[in-house]
Point group: C2
Chain length 116, copies 2
């Protein structure tokens, strides 16, 4: 896994419009025009985002000259998931602590109910 | 999950030094001085990265005035993992295609061996 790939993947994902473009492409290929519609953006505005996604390897473009449909490429997302997944035990510990805390609150409520 | 959180999380993760700082903090709390050592960076240089990580909620700082040890905070990493995980089926499909391809190559080799 190259650090450069992670740099460009995470940078590309740091923009909400680019994340929404990927979400749209998850349901199938789309042209620039189709991608631009929900954002009320100009075609050059969307093209700029697509260039960032393409440089990061997150999308590829078809060769049909007029439409060049965009397609989701998942490999960089796998690398990002792999990196973030190394920290899984930390958030699981956090959830466990929250569970304990909530269980403590609940047993306090139950005891209070018993006395009432 | 707020889009702003994902924006700042992914932006913070797009820098290799910041990712290494998080990796260091995964093995325990550390002072700015301890974090600066492996990078041959100035303390202000490291402090700048720590500010980005702190604003993104990826670390918290202790209250001991002199050292203010840094601590990993996993909640934003969980949100990032959750977002990226939505695309799991895409990279799994990619791996399946690669598997099929390699199995195809292997059976070609086996058949070749039988004829040889």
């Amino acid at each position: 896994m190259s650090p450069d790939t992670l740099d460009s993947t995470f940078a590309a994902l740091s923009d909400p419009t680019r994340r929404e473009i990927l979400a749209r492409l998850a349901s199938g290929e789309a042209s620039v025009k189709e991608l631009a519609e929900p954002f009320e953006m100009t075609l050059p505005g969307v093209s700029k985002h697509l260039k960032v996604l393409e440089r990061a390897g997150l999308i590829s473009r078809g060769r049909v000259a007029q439409s060049r449909p965009c397609r989701l490429e998942a490999a960089p997302l796998w690398e990002a998931a792999d990196w973030v997944g190394r920290y899984r035990r930390f958030w699981e510990e956090g959830f466990d602590r929250l569970d304990d805390y909530l269980r403590g609150l609940q047993s306090g409520v139950d005891e209070g109910g018993g006395r009432g």
